[in-house]
């Protein structure tokens, strides 16, 4: 099963890289889907540049929201922040009912079109899964372990960084992974507000009724999402190999 997954991973990566670097070689594959001699391969922009811009937007936004969400999660689970805990849970619940496209649409009047509303929407929407998972992860630390850590003479800060955060790390990384995948999807929508990304290919296809474009954009984005999902899963396994909370 492991080997099969590894093979699939390499295949997906090779496929995506080949498509982005040598798109024209895939032309015969997509030609049957076009009509009236429309171009089979997206030619209104550099596919590789679009893919990189897409990944870049996602990674920047996710990294920013990870930092803020983890910090907030830590604050809310400390003694001093305890009174913000109920409202935090309520915000998480409410926030999850907002569809990503609405967050994007509402960011536009604030900052205009382009990269900025996309980054803001990705940042805001990505906060929630990471924040919730940080909260849950930190609070599910076994009481005996925390007691032992204090009893051994760790200061509260040492206890936080040497015991609580490492033990919460699997859940935090799970939240980051979820956030990343959702963000790849929302970033495709960013093209509707003129952000650079693979969504452009899909939307161009929809506008000009070119099924080939739509399929290319769709497959490329899908592959990218799967590869990122998988990559973070690998990081999770590496980092959290030893954490088994009995």
């Amino acid at each position: 099963m492991r080997i099969a997954a590894g093979v699939l991973r390499c295949a997906a990566l090779t496929l995506l890289a080949a498509f982005l670097l040598r798109p024209q070689s895939f032309a015969p594959l997509f030609a049957p889907l076009t009509q009236y001699g429309a171009p089979p391969i997206y030619d209104q922009g550099n596919l590789l540049a679009l893919a990189l811009a897409h990944v870049g937007t996602v990674l920047v936004a996710t990294a920013a929201s990870a930092v803020v969400a983890v910090a907030l999660g830590i604050l809310v689970t400390r003694e001093q922040g305890a009174e913000f805990l109920p409202i935090s849970r309520a915000i998480v619940n409410i926030g999850q009912t907002f569809p990503p496209v609405a967050v994007l649409a509402l960011a536009v009047p604030l900052v205009g079109f382009g990269e900025k509303p996309t980054l803001i929407a990705l940042f805001a929407y990505g906060l929630l899964p990471i924040f919730e998972n940080t909260m849950v992860g930190l609070r599910s630390c076994p009481a005996a372990v925390l007691e032992a850590a204090s009893g051994m003479g760790m200061s509260p800060r040492e206890r936080l960084f040497r015991v609580e955060v490492p033990l919460a790390m699997p859940l935090i990384l799970e939240g980051i992974r979820l956030s990343t995948v959702i963000n790849v999807g929302t970033a495709t929508l960013g093209s509707t507000v003129a952000a650079k990304g693979l969504g452009e290919v899909i939307i161009a296809g929809l506008l000009s009724n070119n099924a080939a474009f739509v399929l290319q954009g769709g497959l490329a984005t899908g592959l990218m999402a799967m590869l990122l999902y998988d990559a973070i899963a690998m990081i999770e396994r590496r980092v959290c190999r030893t954490v088994r909370v009995t």
């Binding site: 009174e83 009912t97 899909i202 099924a211 769709g218 497959l219």
Partner: protein, 401 residues
């Protein structure tokens, strides 16, 4: 001793008095937000027409003196409650009063700023209004969270809120606001798109339950299949929505072109068909995963007793396992419904209709009010679905205990 350092066993009165003696820190945050909103940010934005950028106006500028002073005085009172009062009911009452006041203020301001008979001028709520409303909403949400209402109470509160808002809208209180102006122009389309939206969300959910429930039962009964099924559905889940819509368009278009009866029942490459299929696929994972999880947590003792009583495996499934797994399965349904209400908005891009059409049209025309006309009902729908289903799950859970 609990993890948070609050001594367990300390009687409630001691804790309550300790808290009342201090200024509420959430109250400080909310007061700061509210003050910023009121003083620094525009309350409304006066636009010459629906797409012009618009003039910011503060609360004191748009309301007559007595109204402005009254509203501000009320808000100061609400802030005082937020800072000093610990009792949740009082805080909730204050927050609600504030929300009502602010809503009426913005409606009144819009009515005042619009010259009579002029249908072109638009008065939109400004950033200050939204921030103020959010702060008041947070205060209300915090108070409700502290009260910990039961499921019936929550549904009742939602119904009350929707009823009041609905009445106000029907009565025409908010008619001068830009969003309602947009609604006035698009009224019948709004109704049909809203119906479309709900139909797509519920339809895909229904189909997913029809297939996902048996699939989940299968995955539970045959453990060898479980990793494969879940892995496959996981892969589907990671594909971005618009990508999946796009990928489905080609095969569905081919199907419509070459199979006569498919086109007859409405399968096409664009429109509702690919949206429905994609939503159906997205709904499978939560349903299947939750069915499996729900069946797994059924106590082996209960199942044992069922078999011991002479039930066949199917009878045990129907009478014992599924009812006991129901809360977890319904949680999956809730996840799917909320998710789908959001995803249907994207279907508008491929011609699927729904409230998303307003959002994308608004983006295309840079008419923010049109965007809000699409976005706000979607949020209300998703929120209502979440509250209703959560209440149902909790009611079932409590019935069990």
């Amino acid at each position: 001793m609990s993890v948070l350092g609050v001594p367990v066993g300390q009687p409630r009165s001691a804790r309550a008095t300790a808290r009342a003696a201090r200024i509420d820190r959430l109250g400080i945050l909310l007061t700061l937000l509210g003050a910023t909103a009121l003083v620094l940010l525009p309350f409304v934005v006066l636009k010459a027409n629906r797409i012009a950028p618009g003039d910011p106006r503060a609360l004191v500028e748009v309301l007559p003196r007595w109204a402005a002073l009254g509203t501000e005085a009320l808000l100061v009172l609400v802030a005082a409650v937020a800072l000093g009062v610990a009792r949740a009911r009082a805080r909730l009452a204050a927050a609600l009063a504030g929300i009502v006041a602010v809503a009426l203020a913005v409606a009144h301001a819009a009515a005042l700023l619009t010259p009579p008979g002029n249908a072109v001028v638009r008065v939109a709520p400004g950033a200050g209004f939204w921030l103020l409303a959010s702060a008041l909403g947070l205060m209300a949400a915090d108070a409700i969270a502290r009260l910990r209402p039961g499921p019936a109470m929550r549904v009742l509160a939602l119904a009350a809120f929707l009823a009041v808002a609905g009445l106000a809208l029907a009565h025409g209180t908010f008619d001068s606001l830009s969003i309602m102006r947009e609604y006035a122009v698009n009224a019948d389309r709004f109704a049909s798109e809203a119906q479309r939206h709900i139909a797509l969300a519920l339809g895909s959910l229904g189909a997913a339950v029809l297939l996902g429930l048996p699939l989940g039962i299968l995955a539970h009964r045959v453990p060898r299949l479980r990793p494969a099924i879940l892995a496959l559905l996981n892969i589907v889940q990671t594909i971005p929505a618009i990508a999946l819509f796009g990928i489905l368009m080609a095969p569905l278009g081919l199907l419509a072109a070459h199979v006569p009866w498919a086109a007859a029942i409405g399968i096409r490459g664009i429109g509702a068909a690919p949206a429905l299929v994609a939503l159906f696929l997205y709904s499978l994972l939560p349903i299947v995963a939750n069915t499996v999880a729900g069946l797994r947590q059924v106590s082996p003792a209960a199942l044992d007793a069922a078999h011991g009583m002479g039930m066949t495996p199917w009878q045990a499934l129907a009478r014992v396992e599924l009812p006991l797994a129901l809360p977890v399965i319904l949680t999956g349904v809730r996840i799917v419904l909320v998710q789908n209400i959001g995803l249907v908005a994207i279907a508008a891009l491929i011609g699927g209709g729904g409230l998303g059409t307003f959002i994308f049209q608004g983006i295309g025309q840079t008419a923010i009010d049109l965007v809000l006309l699409g976005a706000i009902p979607i949020v209300v729908l998703a929120f209502s679905a979440a509250v209703l289903l959560d209440a149902l799950v909790e009611a079932l859970d409590r019935g069990r205990r």
